[in-house]
Symmetry: C2
Subunit: 509 residues, 2 copies
């Protein structure tokens, strides 16, 4: 078989079943090998950022490493923002990057670049230099990608190595595992937790249902506070103990943590501000608060939290479901949008969140929604939402997926909608349309600039011309509808959940 | 003034007047400084690849270095494909990249990454570590960006250095120049040119009108062949001597150069194949052909070509205009599209070419069009066309701009259309809509695969669903129309040239 086929068959034998791809001429041997390796489903993205975000969402939701296929350095470069998000989310992701034939590189063709440098920015890089190395190198990359909670790993495959025949056998990667937390550490922390003014701050790759229930038990047993930092995947909803995320802005976040004496960190580094604000420290915890690490992000956080709950002799969780939310009515605003969405969510759905300012009220109401999975964009690189939603819907065809998506950030990877149509994914996009980069406006207000001049306004205003997201969706093969009232949003959400295939709801705020 | 203002005022005093921007929170001090530095026009892109391509087109058409503003590593990463194109085009471009406050970086916030590595992939990088260095560092970056034919250069400006006050004076960059070619070299080459079977192959950053006329004189004086490699900017049309670009595929390119005994290289490396093809050498020139370098890409190519023509005692060019082209009629195909476009082009317009397979017939007919400027995407990174056209139209408001744009590549940076609407640019997009990645299909045919299976087809087919470019344009505020016949294309082209503002013509092939 060819080197390309050896790479793909090694992926299959290591549990990979989907390839999010945007190939070019240097990947022709890989493309034709994809035609022979039926166990791998190719999913085309019209832009590489779509492929990377989709691979991220797919891997997070299936628990299997995701494969992406990219064209040389510039093609891979287009995926970098979502590679960054995947790196921060500790997602198991393998990028297969085609390169020029080894003998052609010396002539410095137009598309040549330092692929290893650009792939190294995203994560670990391995390079195949001979078809006979193809399977073993791919297996090593998959092993690396599944180490700890997960890693972004890239394999560079030159065209001649992809084309050449190899007799080396297909390999199977030794998949990584998470390290268990030593019981002695858990016991010690259980003692520390007996102090007043304690908190557990959880986070990292996944706040599973088991983890959330353990956090609820710990809170009940000790009276401690429980928070999360922004977490890649969170199970939440009315039947689960509430684990609120620390607020985005430093002042309210610091108020939550004020006076803490001990903070147990479970799967997350200690909470910090997203950006640096003059006169405010980066760390959100009080200086006097003792930091205690229960589990590093790569450790088995879930088992550690259950172990801590057990060590505290915590009973079964007696979580009382919150009162039902009141229905919102009238003109759409962030509050009524969040309420309508939270009330409508079908049990077991997946919500991908990239609506920093417009989505905040939803984050609160979501605690009272039917149980669902929330995916966050962990690296903060804009344009993660729609692609991640596409990947989640690809990986979980039986679960409705909702993308709660801001307008500004939607425009970085709007091409994702075509893949949703192409693959007939059950995806509902709630487009929060406020016609501006509201976060920049907010930050200007925070900096005391309430009335920016025309030059500054021109950099935060998206209303000249207005973006017509219904037209954009139609152009990409996705039906859409515009709503301005909460009742209409609810009606359209329910219609979309009941209808297979993708749909965009342009929610005018 | 603030460090940010010192940077911007240094840009202004070095001849920069436009800033293609997609800023975020870490660039807030730069954004507010843009409000105070009225000499700098901010142009918003909804995606960073738009900003970089626009800066490239702007710099190529105005001859002034272009400025881009980017948000941290991930934001800048989104611009990399077009940074690559600018690097290959030898464009003078300065990227201003915001970073976290220096004191915040140590806490490894979510958006932190190795900016220097990702910017280093694109070109030279300088980092400001104190507001007092801001002006001098920016001046050094602009000097670097204008060295030789031009360079991509990045300046990293942390948020605290941007905010802090400085008393250091605004600087002016010492702009670079192109090195003159020694007369002795020109004389020696004039002698070599007397041999039979000689050719001049030109290329690089700019084939100016003066260069093209000099090439015509050299050809007339010696009977040599004259070719160009893909060149960033070319002046062409019926009143100028024809300088054809070497064909894209290796077989026809090699046929053009077959039997050459001496090849004079003017502003270009020796011609090579775009990709490596098994069994074919990378170099297109015969092994026995003597290579003679008249001018390196960074040298003063124009003066060298004029010098060579003079050294050959070449007379004034007696170029005879080609016969008028016959009008095309009937269903659109690449031939009738190219013909209709070539016949319609207004004198002095700018054509940005990113239509590799559908645009080839235009390249031939263009030699008989009214004189115009052609901009090529030099690095081969897909998604350069629309942004470059936006930048060219921004820089040359008095010249109609046409983007001859393939459908597949349009989808990488379709967001450029919004900036065209926002800035009311006089831009006509001719969208070559063949509903597939035709270049991949061609390469598969070349590899002997005429009937790829469904998995392979799914990676080259863009027809499920069809992209509706008229709807996409409408969504981005640009009026559009669909045409299927050559006559209708001509009518719509003329309507667009006569109407201010942007317009998209979806040409169904």
């Amino acid at each position: 078989m060819s080197g390309a086929e050896a790479v793909l068959r090694t992926a299959v034998s290591s549990g990979i079943d989907t390839c999010f791809a945007n190939p070019g001429t240097t990947e022709l041997a890989i493309v034709t090998a994809l035609g022979r390796v039926r166990e791998l489903r190719p999913v085309l993205g019209l832009f590489e950022g779509v492929c990377a975000g989709a691979a991220d969402g797919y891997a997070r939701m299936t628990g299997r490493p995701a494969l992406g296929l990219y064209h040389l350095g510039p093609g891979f470069a287009n995926s970098l923002a979502n590679q960054h998000n995947a790196r921060r989310a500790l997602t198991s992701m393998v990028n297969l990057i085609g390169d020029h034939a080894t003998w052609h590189l010396g002539s410095d063709p137009p598309l040549a670049s330092d692929i290893d440098a650009v792939a190294g920015w995203a994560g670990h890089v391995l390079r195949i230099t001979d078809a006979d190395e193809a399977a073993a190198t791919m297996a090593a990359a998959i092993a690396k990608a599944t180490s700890g909670a997960g890693r972004v790993t890239s394999v560079v495959l030159p065209a001649d190595c992809a084309e050449s025949e190899t007799t080396q056998p297909v390999a199977s990667a030794a998949l990584g595992t998470r390290a268990p937390v030593p019981p002695a550490r858990i016991e010690k922390i259980a003692v520390a937790m007996r102090r007043p003014k304690a908190a557990v701050v959880s986070g990292g790759a996944h706040l599973s249902e088991v983890s959330v229930r353990a956090l609820g038990r710990i809170r009940e047993a000790t009276g401690c506070a429980v928070w999360s930092t922004r977490t890649a995947r969170v199970e939440m909803g009315r039947s689960l103990p509430a684990v609120e995320e620390l607020p985005y802005f430093p002042e309210p976040a610091r108020r939550r943590l004020d006076g803490l004496e001990v903070c147990v960190l479970a799967g997350t580094a200690e909470p910090i501000t997203f950006f640096g604000y003059e006169g405010q420290p980066s760390n959100l915890l009080p200086d006097t608060c003792e930091r205690v690490v229960l589990a590093e992000p790569d450790d088995d956080v879930e088992a550690a939290l259950v172990g801590l709950a057990d060590a505290l002799d915590a009973g079964g969780s007696s979580w009382t479901e919150p009162d039902p939310l009141e229905v919102a009515a009238g003109a759409l605003n962030p509050e009524s949008l969040g309420r309508s969405l939270a009330l409508s969510l079908p049990e077991g759905c997946i919500v991908v969140y990239e609506a920093l300012t417009s989505g905040l009220p939803f984050r609160v109401d979501a605690l009272a929604a039917r149980p669902f999975t929330l995916l966050n964009i962990l690296g903060g690189a804009i344009g993660g939402g729609l692609p991640t939603a596409v990947g989640a819907a690809t990986g979980c065809p039986d679960r409705p997926v909702v993308a709660l998506q801001a307008d500004g950030s939607a425009m970085y990877t709007i091409q994702a909608l075509w893949t949703a149509a192409h693959e007939d994914l059950d995806l509902t996009v709630v487009l929060c349309n406020n016609r501006k980069y509201r976060i920049l406006e907010t930050e200007l207000e925070r900096a005391g600039i309430d009335e920016p001049g025309p030059a500054v306004r021109s950099l935060i205003d998206l209303s000249d011309p207005d973006l017509d997201f219904v037209a954009l969706a139609a152009g990409l093969g996705v039906p859409g509808v515009r709503v301005t009232e909460a009742e209409a949003l609810t009606t359209e959400l329910e219609r979309s959940y009941a209808t297979p295939g993708p749909r965009l709801i342009d929610a005018i705020l």
